[in-house]
Symmetry: C2
Subunit: 282 residues, 2 copies
């Protein structure tokens, strides 16, 4: 018997991984949660049948969503993570001694529970004393929280289903309000290659621009996401991510597998077709 | 009935495309040649069951293999293309009025014949009067040719099968010999993510370094190739691809869908894991 996990990247394009064993399958109030083990990618974790991360390449996503803003403003002390229940984003944040506080808000407690148990390679810093977990809807959290943050990372699912509210004008407006005057907002921005989410990402990008004077998009090679070409949005009140102090970041001595201060800059250099589709300036 | 094309990226990872119709299938003396039509990618062309190009994203590969060296040395006049039977590389070269001569050497006449007929979007410049086609083994061609070139583009298949000789020390040595003193050699360098070809590419890269003082690797997002993360090798006797005259290239007014002079520079900024695996300096 052979067991294969298959994800439809479009109705006529499929990506399949041979599975050694299903380690977990369950339905939370919000979504279907599954964890598998595979030869090529090690353990991998899906929500509603869509790939969230694999043991082999999760470092790419998590390094790029964290180190790009952290190298842009090394003085970040207070961070809000929306989503990110697998813990990978918190793990990368926890490497910065200068960070004083991380609030993580994931709507789905089952995700965190399952990842704590089965994906220790991402979840192993969720117990860092600087981290507080909230199991709430991120959209509601940012409405009422009275904290101020230096950095908000939106480590969300797609712009439909449980993550839908995290791509709305209301959400971005509240993020802007709870960020300090030099605050940064980073979010996952989907792939630019397949049509499915492009219109919604273009809309989301326009909405962010209403609130932040500096808005850029950067990219990374993530082989297990649709098309392998993944985008991140970078919105900022003051700091331009193209102007970083590379020496200062390198002096921190953080070992990374994907990120470096050269690829930091290179990642903002986008193909023409991506710029056109997102109607971007950079 | 449904028809699906499936490529094994590894023995446990598969990429599948729903096929509208097979347009050609035949066996040449060298390889199995197939052309299909699909909803997502338009027409696509495979050799021995491996993806060579799709109508939707061939522009990425062809722009990146041509415009990176051409922007590095805008004075290139004489070009040798090894492989490239689909014509896409020649199409991009033909856009430069300053190029005087393009010799293209593909071992497999059937590939060119089939692409002329079924893939006019790549093959439509093979009749440019500056182009001469040779149906020979590139490895043998560079042994005996008495021309000198400014640029050699190795637009080959994988480092096994018919393309194997194009990754040898003998081949690179002869390329070096038939290049002018400011000559450039670019070759496709496989993906850095799946283990299968990494050792052979590392070896190939070492061999090139024996002949060329400047050796770099650059990358592009090509969704229909394994992992979507594709590398190119850039070897050069004089010109450093990081030092380009962006204004001069932009003044040519060539419209491109992927390439621009920013991504030219960004493409040479590689992830740490890629640098480590290829034991690269850049």
């Amino acid at each position: 018997m052979e067991l294969w996990y298959t994800e439809e990247h479009t109705p006529t394009v499929r990506f399949s991984i041979k599975v050694k064993k299903q380690l977990f399958g369950g339905k939370s109030p919000f979504q279907q949660v599954d964890v598998f083990d595979s030869e090529e990618f090690g353990r991998f974790f899906t929500l509603d049948g869509l790939m969230m991360l694999t043991e082999k390449d999760e470092f790419i996503y998590h390094e790029m969503i964290v180190h790009v803003p952290m190298a842009t403003n090394p003085d970040v002390r207070r961070v809000l993570v929306i989503g990110g229940g697998d813990g990978g984003t918190v793990r990368e944040l926890s490497r910065y001694k200068t960070i004083e506080k991380v609030d993580m808000v994931d709507i789905d407690e089952m995700v965190v529970k399952v990842c704590r148990e089965l994906l220790p390679f991402t979840s192993n810093k969720l117990d860092d004393p600087r981290v507080t977990l909230y199991f709430e809807d991120g959209l509601k959290f940012v409405r009422t929280v009275e904290e101020k943050y230096d950095l908000i990372i939106v480590d969300s699912t797609d712009p439909f289903g449980p993550g839908e509210g995290l791509f709305t004008k209301e959400f971005y407006g509240n993020c802007c309000k709870i960020l300090n005057d030099d605050g940064i907002l980073v979010n996952q921005h989907e792939n630019p290659y397949y049509d499915s989410y492009r219109a919604s990402m273009r809309r989301a990008h326009r909405r962010i621009e209403d609130f932040f004077p500096i808005c850029r998009v950067y990219q990374a090679h993530i082989p297990t996401y649709p098309s392998g070409h993944w985008l991140f949005g970078f919105a900022s009140k003051k700091f331009d991510p193209l102007e970083i102090d590379a020496e200062a970041w390198n002096a921190l001595g953080l070992e990374t597998n994907y990120y470096n201060t050269d690829i930091h800059r290179g990642a903002f250099m986008l193909p023409n077709y991506v710029k056109r589709e997102l109607e971007l300036e950079n």
